[in-house]
């Protein structure tokens, strides 16, 4: 459905991914038709409000959606040409933690409280590499040093570490087998600002070292600006704007993206009022027809309410899912 066909196969290709949840009788379409592309070593920022389906996308790439209520109902995810959804569970397990790994949002609960920190790292190494127990321990100690934790603390338990230190352990686990793709699900949200910077720098150094591609999920535009190459804005399970960082930051085309930028206090101008986007994100089980943003969009026209809204190319070449790009561009100017 994307306009131009890239010459070489992209490193990671997601086509029309759709995921539905079932809870007491109601069907919730968390992700309905998401297509993304990521080059090797590059970073893609996935930005949107909570509940827009960001984490679901990451989890469906790794196929670790909690199977009680969630089901992938369509689309495909190709990693270096191989469609992950076609793989058997055993093959998928070889990829998890080895080719693709994930960092989670809340470090406080992301580590197993009854297992030593070192063992948790050694476990992922053991799963994906041959060798004796002491090799894995050595590797785990290396990773601890690499993320700035003294190796002596190998045998300590998660409750003996601070939030920031725990996130470092999670990162050590994720990067222990030098994965090709790193899915970072809001890695710094639960940390305070000073620790946030250290963690981001740590991720950046390690990625440069192993040339790891990263899908960064966040709702913090500052983090996107600092680390991402491309940006995709997601709203109610659909990508509504997709382009390079410069294109999105300099010329946001979709009213929602503009609204997002409007909600950030900019250091330069002294705005009396921030412009929050009025209204609330739509109920996932009965999404509005046509453009899902039209109830909250100041530029909504009759056309927006009906029919499917496709991605359009904007002036500077990035894509946007809005039929009134021109009128919006004129007024925002």
């Amino acid at each position: 459905m994307s306009e131009q066909k890239m010459e070489t196969e992209p490193f990671l290709q997601i086509e029309d991914l759709a995921v539905e949840y079932y809870s007491d009788g109601k069907v919730i379409s968390a992700v309905n038709g998401v297509s993304l592309r990521l080059e090797k070593g590059k970073t893609l920022g996935l930005v949107g409000e909570t509940g827009a389906g960001k984490t679901t996308i990451a989890k469906s790439i790794l196929r670790i959606l909690p199977d009680v209520g969630a089901k992938i109902t369509g689309g495909e995810v190709k990693l270096e040409g191989k469609d992950l959804f076609k793989l058997s569970e055993v093959e998928m397990r070889k990829i998890r933690g080895n080719n693709i790994s994930m960092i989670f949002q809340d470090p406080m609960t992301a580590l197993n409280p009854v297992q030593t920190v070192g063992d948790q790292i050694a476990e992922v190494v053991r799963l994906h590499s041959k060798g004796e127990k002491h090799d894995f321990v050595k590797r785990a100690e290396e990773m601890l040093e690499m993320v700035g934790i003294p190796a002596e603390r190998y045998h300590e338990y998660p409750h003996q570490f601070s939030g920031g230190m725990k996130q470092r352990v999670v990162i050590a686990i994720a990067l222990a087998c030098n994965p090709d793709l790193l899915l970072a699900d809001e890695p710094t949200t639960a940390l305070d600002v000073t620790i946030q910077a250290q963690v981001l720098d740590l991720i950046a150094d390690l990625r440069k070292k192993y040339n790891t591609a990263m899908l960064l999920i966040t709702h913090d535009m500052g983090v996107v600006a600092q680390t991402c190459d491309d940006v995709a804005v997601i709203y109610a399970g659909k990508i509504i704007e997709y382009g390079s960082k410069e294109q999105i930051f300099d010329h946001p085309a979709h009213p929602y993206t503009i609204g997002l930028f409007g909600a950030i206090p900019s250091m330069s101008g002294d705005e009396e009022w921030l412009h929050p986007i009025d209204g609330l994100p739509p109920e996932p089980f009965n999404l509005p027809k046509g453009c899902t943003f039209h109830p909250r969009c100041p530029y909504a026209t009759e056309a927006c309410r009906g029919g499917t809204i496709d991605m359009r190319r904007t002036a500077d070449g990035h894509q946007c899912r809005c039929i009134n790009i021109d009128t919006v561009k004129k007024q925002e100017g």
Partner: protein, 319 residues
Amino acid sequence: MARYVLKRLLWMIPIALGVAVLVFTLMCFCPGDPAEIILGSTATQENLAAKREELGLNDPYIIRLGTFLSDTFIHFDLGESWITGASVKEAIAERLPRTLLLSIIQLIISFGIGIPLGVMAAVNQNKWQDNLCMALALIGISIPNFWLALLLVILFSVKLNLLPAMGIGGIEYYILPALAGCTNGIAAGARQTRSSMLDVIRSDYITTARAKGVPEWQVIVKHGLKNGLIPIITVMGTHFGKMLGGTMVIETIFAIPGMGQYIINGVNNRDYQVVQVGSIFLAIAFSFCMLAVDLLYAAVDPRIRARYAKGGKRRAKKA
């Protein structure tokens, strides 16, 4: 850790003393005169009076309590049963292991069957396995164990002639009594495991484990179950008391000469010595098992182990 265990062991002495005083006082208020029971209905008044004097029943309460406590706790002379003259120490040495063996087998079966059932129910929640497990658990809790004991005897000993219906001997003698006694335990274990596993499965470190490529069953058992064990152990600990009590009834049905029958006969025959000393030993054995359960906490959860190591001031929350 050793400090904590020592503290708990020292703590058992006042508990044993407390139990001794409590049961002694209770037995004093028991109607019925032991002398008449011993000598039977054909005894003359002089016989009875002599017997009462010999048993010291005429002394005031405080003196009798004093002699009893000094005999038991200082001289470790556990005396003889008033009715049969059999030494209490030997009787307990013979019977306590049987009752404890039966209770511990029941505990192990309850853990052994209860937990996997609970995990299976939690893993495929709301599927047929879940409903079946929970229905089984509900039935298990509802059936009184002595009634089930009778039915099991009919089914397995009489109809199928597989297992001995009564008496003591090899391990096969303990299967039916243990089975009858532990259905409540299995049911409680399964229900508790299911509810704590449901909490655990939704937590983040399970997703982390899955993201690491850990096989599903390892995720559930190694990561999930190990974290869910604390509330399960708590329920099992409290349930062990009920099981030990239940064993007393099961013993009467399966003609197992254990502590239960011993104490019940003691109470019926107003055999004060047997009931008092029997209760003390049952209480001590019970406290040892509860201590073992508490130590299980520490073994399973490092956070508690840390608290114990730090002088163990706050004992693990029992609620």
